[in-house]
Symmetry: C2
Subunit: 272 residues, 2 copies
């Protein structure tokens, strides 16, 4: 296809097009980061598989081995997928947030701070790496497609390292970000304003607190991460976030990324 | 700090500023994705810790627990860090590539295809998730900070699942992307042109081929992933990439993300 043809068929970017989130029903999961961006910014969106019984078919169609995408959009590996209007399909959680950031004003104004969006993206990627992916791996250290029970001895070891080393490491990092001048006072992670990095950090730490309540409480009480926990509390208390968390649109944690297995939260259990 | 003050001190974005890669010396690692973007596009850059003996101090200063960043830049969690001129520091591999993409013409022209950069970003994120992070975890399934030998039984199990399920899953995905219309013919992953997603895919599969030579050869011979392996060969044969791979600027694999432990590449070893 020539560049000219492609150009004439290019995807529209009208911000008034409707937003549809395509994600598994009934769990927060990685889709929750997208929901929170919409909710915190008061942006209308459709959460297709939680709003209609056959909405899950939209998820299954996206991840089908038959799906090769279309003229504009490569197929996604996994949900969440964001549809913007009919023509635009965007996958990968941090990528969806990057796309939404300027539209939902959840990144610094690009005219005033053209580099800010990259800093926000880096912070969101780091939170997802350390506080979402690694947290998931505590209950599935060996095989993502197998049961927890089939890899429980390994999970106990992995969770021990997570509690002792990884979780403190990531909290210390975000504490340091909040101490730094680029946060402009430590109220938010970057630039003195709410960005989607704050929302991602909140959601990750909320999930970690569900999965590892004892460990998280101990880390909070240590006083070593006061800025990080204050940020968590601040986001949780934002008017629109609070209303959302109290609504039935907020899905409950269960058997997703964040799972509460008491044995993974106990000191000593993972000793070899 | 007021918005006005910040605005007046905003970071410059002159594309003529020099690029400096701050990454560990002597290993390809995640820094390799940044090197390949520069090399494939013929863009001058400084690879500070491979070019001077005390360049490693730049890495250590970045990841020090004392580093709280500066007025503009949050601290990074880990290298690679890209410096652009004196004022701009960008961290997180896919974020660095996102920043460089338009400047190095490794994403579709934004005027002609404003959504293309998000598709490229999603493809790069997916390759890094599945073919870099998961590959690393085969030799470190329990504790990133501990020795391989301390987690070898678990590594054998993880590697078995990786060879049987995860690696084929990701190759099948990229094969499907190449079959799709958005690739515009399957020569490259997206839009009929070389993007950084192709370079990331190449580097990941190159590392996987080093770590799992038998498994990779078997998958290639199966014929199920012909487009994916053809893309690998195509990128490897690009004039500038080829010259780079043959130069002494290309670091050798050793004890980084991609490690060749023959026992992890053998069927049967991971049986429980």
């Amino acid at each position: 296809m020539s560049t000219t043809t492609r150009s004439s068929k290019r995807q529209k970017t009208n911000d008034d097009l409707p937003y549809t989130l395509i994600y598994w029903p009934s769990i927060p999961g990685r889709g929750e980061h997208v929901r929170l961006a919409f909710e915190a910014s008061g942006t209308p969106y459709s959460d297709i598989s939680n709003e209609s019984k056959d909405g899950i078919n939209a998820v299954l169609a996206q991840i089908s081995g038959e799906n090769i995408g279309d003229e504009h959009n490569p197929p996604p590996l996994a949900p969440p997928v964001l549809k913007h209007g009919e023509d635009i399909s965007i996958s990968q959680t941090p990528n969806i947030l990057l796309y939404l950031g300027p539209k939902l004003k959840l990144v610094p104004n690009i005219e005033e701070d053209p580099i800010g969006i990259y800093h926000v993206n880096a912070l969101a990627l780091t939170a997802l790496d350390g506080l979402s992916n690694e947290t998931h791996d505590t209950h599935h250290p060996i095989a993502t497609g197998d049961y927890y029970e089939a890899q429980k001895p390994e999970a106990l070891k992995k969770a021990k390292d997570y509690r002792a080393n990884r979780l403190p490491k990531f909290l210390e990092y975000f504490e340091r970000v909040l101490r730094g001048d680029a946060s402009q006072g430590g109220e938010y992670l970057y630039g003195g304003q709410l960005t989607y990095a704050d929302l991602v950090f909140f959601q990750c730490l909320d999930g970690v607190s569900f999965a590892f309540p004892k460990c998280t409480a101990k880390l909070r009480e240590s006083g070593d991460y006061d800025r990080a926990f204050a940020l968590y509390d601040r986001i949780k208390g934002l008017e629109k976030v609070k209303a959302y968390l109290e609504s039935d649109r907020r899905q409950k944690y269960s058997q997703g990324i964040y799972r509460h297995y008491p044995e993974l939260d106990e000191d000593g259990e993972g000793d070899a």
